[in-house]
Subunit: 155 residues, 3 copies
Amino acid sequence: MAEVVHMIDSEVFLAFSTYATIAVLKMMLMSLMTSYFRLTKQVFSNLEDTALVKTTEDRKKLVRVDPDVERVRRCHLNDLENIVPFVVIGLLYALTGPDLSMALLHFRVFVGSRFIHTVAYMMALPQPTRALAFGVGLFITFSMAYRVLTTALFL
Amino acid sequence: MAEVVHMIDSEVFLAFSTYATIAVLKMMLMSLMTSYFRLTKQVFSNLEDTALVKTTEDRKKLVRVDPDVERVRRCHLNDLENIVPFVVIGLLYALTGPDLSMALLHFRVFVGSRFIHTVAYMMALPQPTRALAFGVGLFITFSMAYRVLTTALFL
Amino acid sequence: MAEVVHMIDSEVFLAFSTYATIAVLKMMLMSLMTSYFRLTKQVFSNLEDTALVKTTEDRKKLVRVDPDVERVRRCHLNDLENIVPFVVIGLLYALTGPDLSMALLHFRVFVGSRFIHTVAYMMALPQPTRALAFGVGLFITFSMAYRVLTTALFL
């Protein structure tokens, strides 16, 4: 228990704050990308949203599904499924007082893997690019979880 | 680094705890609203769930998609995509030691914007009501992220 | 305000770290389960992903929707909608300095209810098994939120 010390003003915690914020901002950009595709391609989920664009078409026809928009949405959901666990476990990991160099390695590789994942998803790069990026991110989070559980286990 | 001080028993942290809890509770209400619509409209995703209602219809026909249920679910997903980033970045923001008045301004405007967003979504209010509520929430989170990155940047 | 004390190296916080990590790891396993079903059943969302399996079929036909994969995905989304609120509110709850026995009761019942929820969802157990597991998890989170708001309320 003594190993779980106050680390909130440590360099590890600053590094965590920085990389967690970058990862979450990246995730939020998917919202803006979805809005951009919806407005430029005129593809909406709600009838009232069609008022956001000028169109000569029947507005009801704009409530439809588009493969590009669905691709962005899948990428966004994948971010939620992976970046949120990183943030939660990364916060607890940062509080276990790891070496700064090890912590930075985890944070940098994770954030890098998620940027590669997004590029691979958006540009439909040949597999296994995206699968590898996904796997690396997962592995990093598992590695941090391992340290949390071995340091702080209290069942 | 000295600016990232222990703030966990500060008024800013209490305010963060309060508003984060309210925002997350609001998000969880979407689960209950989905259940309510599913039960009253008899619309289910899983065959085993149809046993939850009394019906004279063929149970397989109750496994279907309904526009009202889908609307609640989109609203719920939008909450996940926006309230989770607010909570993560808001926590780090609270730890940077902002002025109480500035912090309260951020938290109150964000939570207000998400309540307006939900009402606008559920009642299908004319746009750009919902788009503005979404944009205000996004802006608040970006503003807090800016402070986190300028105070705690450690790459 | 004095009740919100530094609890980060307390047993309650260690217990929170342990159960939050277990809950998040359980949620991440849904990603792996989705991948497993996609690869073994040859069901994909993206054309480029079909290169991950050997097949004699027309690859475009592998971009399809499968009921088993959709079931895993619904279970995963339900985890996101419930485990993320637990983690956020549980963190704030742990910082309010509850009794260790009460905290352990909350954390254990929540994590147990989510494991039961997943088993009930994956095996399509007769309702109301899954509904009860969902309800118990929701109740635990509401109970922790009640303590956070009554201890730390600052509007």
